[in-house]
C-alpha cells in the first residue's frame, strides 16, 4: 500500500514538473521581453528577427520619433477639443466647424505621412522579407489603413 501511494504520488509530481518545465521554458522569451524597457521594442526584435546591430538602430529611430509623435498627439487632442466645443455651441455646420474639420483632415494627412516615413526608416534596418512583413503589418493596423 505504501509502495502504491509512492508510485501514485511520484506520477503526479512528475506530471507537475513536466508541466512547469515546458510552460516556463516556453514563455521565458516573452517574460524577458516584458522585463525590458520598453517591452514593445523587444517584441519587434523577436518578431522580425533583428540582430543586435539592427535592433540598436531601430531603438534609436524609435526614440527619435517619440517626441514628434507626442507633439502630434497634443495637436490632435487640442484640435478635437476645439471641434467638440464648436459642435456643442450650435445645431448646424458653421463655417468655423467646417474650417476646423478641414484642419483635422490636414492633420490626419500630416500624421499619416509622418508615420509612413517612420515605418520606412525602421523597415530599412530590417532584412528585406521582414521589412516587407513589417510594412504590411503596420499599414494594416495603424491610421494608414483608416
Amino acid at each position: 500500500m505504501k509502495r502504491l501511494s509512492f508510485i501514485l504520488l511520484l506520477g503526479l509530481v512528475v506530471a507537475v514538473a513536466g508541466y512547469c518545465l515546458f510552460y516556463f521554458s516556453g514563455t521565458a522569451k516573452h517574460r524577458d521581453a516584458l522585463q525590458n524597457s520598453p517591452p514593445e521594442l523587444a517584441w519587434l526584435k523577436s518578431e522580425f528577427q533583428l540582430n543586435d546591430a539592427e535592433f540598436t538602430k531601430v531603438c534609436q529611430l524609435h526614440l527619435a520619433y517619440m517626441p514628434h509623435c507626442q507633439k502630434m498627439c497634443d495637436r490632435i487632442d487640442k484640435l478635437n477639443a476645439e471641434i467638440n466645443g464648436l459642435v456643442m455651441q450650435t445645431n448646424a455646420i458653421t463655417p468655423a466647424i467646417e474650417k476646423k474639420m478641414g484642419e483635422a483632415a490636414q492633420l490626419r494627412l500630416e500624421c499619416q505621412k509622418m508615420l509612413l516615413n517612420h515605418f520606412y526608416d525602421v523597415s530599412r534596418q530590417m532584412p528585406p522579407p521582414q521589412a516587407k512583413r513589417y510594412l504590411a503589418m503596420m499599414r494594416q493596423q495603424t491610421v494608414l489603413s483608416k
Partner: protein
C-alpha cells in the same frame, strides 16, 4: 407523555392489523427485485476488483514506469499547449503596445 405515546402506538398497531392490501403485485415482482440486487452487487464488485487490480498491478516495475511516463507526457503536453497559448496572447499584447506607441490616433489618452 409516555402514556400518550403508548396509546398512539397501540392505535397504529390496530390500524395496521385491520389494513388489508387488495392490489396484487406486478408479474415477476420477486424475480425483478432479486435481479436488481444482483446487478447492484455486480457493479460494486467490478469497482472493487478494478481498485484491487490497480493495487496489485501498479507496483510492478514495468507498469509503474509506464504510469509515470504517461503522466510525464501528459504534464509536458499540457505545459507546452498552455505556454503556446500564453505566448500568443503576450505577442498580441506587445504588438498592440507597439502600434499604440507609434500611432498618435491610437495612443492611450490620459
Amino acid at each position: 407523555m409516555k402514556n400518550n405515546q403508548q396509546n398512539d402506538d397501540e392505535a397504529l398497531r390496530a390500524s395496521l392489523r385491520e389494513w388489508k392490501e387488495n392490489s396484487s403485485l406486478p408479474p415477476r415482482f420477486q424475480e425483478q427485485v432479486w435481479q436488481k440486487i444482483e446487478r447492484a452487487e455486480a457493479e460494486k464488485n467490478t469497482r472493487w476488483n478494478f481498485l484491487k487490480s490497480i493495487e496489485t498491478l501498479l507496483p510492478r516495475p514495468a507498469l509503474a514506469v509506464s504510469y509515470v511516463v504517461v503522466l510525464l507526457a501528459v504534464g509536458m503536453g499540457a505545459g507546452m499547449w498552455q505556454s503556446e497559448r500564453k505566448s500568443a496572447k503576450m505577442d498580441s499584447t506587445l504588438e498592440r503596445l507597439y502600434v499604440q506607441s507609434v500611432d498618435p490616433y491610437q495612443a492611450p489618452r490620459h
